[in-house]
């Protein structure tokens, strides 16, 4: 497992980390300009994410400032006389992606963070993704465990509403645990076949 100095994980701070991580994965697949990368992100992550092209440019700039991406002016395919900024991976990009795959996610955007990882995971990342899924499953169990139990008798309207809210939390967490288990199974089955 690669060592992780604070300098190397500095780019993982803030709520945009999943998008930055996904951008690194896309850059490693092939270089691209901001619009291209924004389109590829949107296709990869689907409608759940609202990928704003301006945000993507901003995040690419941040990645460049931390040495994880490098931009070059290159001629446009459609018009060779005009140029645009094309982003490329650097020598540090692959290691950064691996570190991100190994890093625990903060509680709230955890599932979206996992989706971002899955969307650009390389086959060699399978063990890290499996660990991330297991950690997520535990996280969901802990959240379920934190819910105070009902006494089984909703005697008032307020108590009934409380019970319904509690039920919503359980339903959501149960779905998440099922999804994590199902995804682990699919990855394991794939690894056994290949």
């Amino acid at each position: 497992m690669a060592s992780a100095s604070p300098e190397k994980t500095k780019w993982m701070r803030g709520p945009s980390t999943p998008l930055r991580g996904a951008l690194l994965g896309l850059l490693l697949e092939r270089p691209g300009h901001g619009g291209d990368l924004a389109n590829r992100l949107a296709v990869r992550l689907g409608e759940t994410w609202r990928v704003d092209t301006n945000d993507v440019y901003r995040l690419l700039e941040q990645l460049e400032n931390t040495g994880l991406a490098a931009s070059r002016d290159e001629p446009k395919r459609s018009n060779q006389r005009r140029t645009h900024l094309v982003y490329h991976p650097t020598d540090s990009t692959s290691e950064a992606l691996t570190l991100w795959m190994e890093t625990l996610l903060p509680r709230e955007p955890v599932r979206l963070g996992l989706q971002a990882k899955l969307s650009v995971a390389r086959e060699q990342d399978a063990p890290r993704v499996l660990i991330a899924l297991k950690a997520y499953e535990r996280e969901c169990l802990v959240l379920a465990h934190l819910v105070s139990p009902t006494d089984g008798e909703a005697r008032s309207w307020a108590a009934l509403c409380m019970d319904c809210t509690r039920d919503a939390v359980y339903a959501q967490l149960q779905t998440e645990v099922d999804w994590a288990a199902r995804t682990r199974r699919r990855i394991n089955e794939f690894l056994q076949r290949s």
Binding site: E137, P149, T150, D163, D178
Partner: protein, 249 residues
Amino acid sequence: MTPLLSFLNVSKRYPDGGREIVVLDQASLEIEAGVSVGVYGARRSGKSTLLRMAAGIVLADSGSVRFDGRDMAAMTAGERSRLLRGAIAFMAAGDWRVNPGETVVEHVATSLGSEGLTMREAKRRALRILDEVGIGAAGAQDTTASLSLAESTRVMLARALAREPRLLVLDESALMPNLHDRDRFYALLRSAARERNMALLVASEEMAALQGVGVLMSIADGELCSTEELGTVVRLPGRRFASSEHPRR
């Protein structure tokens, strides 16, 4: 302190056509006296096998299952059977069997046959336990055949509690007709366990049914995942995955 029940690297396989299915894969857990453990899992996840092993009904292919420090595999079938009629109570949906014309109190009292009690003493104890699970003296005289699903589940619980077990294993027998009955039943179960310092091992296909347990686990493809293990995980961005050197939360 010796845990009441422990699983150490327990595996179980069943044949499926020409191949083998792993229904329990290197499962490890410990349950102390008086602790309640809930296992959430979908159908065919391995939870029934786990519970049947905990009750000594099924033996492990590898690893060890110990009750009160004693290896279940080293016990004779008779010893395991006695355990299941005494210190361990096992409840599952298919276990509801009634005799024609039998009353509720008779049903519970006859289950105490090997306790060395007279029928009068057994009935007295049965009435006390039935009252605790919400079936009063009048309800105790109803015939078992006339009971609703929710009532018969409570009678099953009374029957299990009457032997004063140290561990109650419940394999989602409480498939209640509605959420209200389910929540009432589980609240009753938790309260009964607390009063007796009885350990609980409960499995369900509904996570909400397991609310209030001391330890929550999930099982999928025979692999256990537990809230207990999270104690070693630090969740800060930039940190790495679980490691034993990380402080407990």
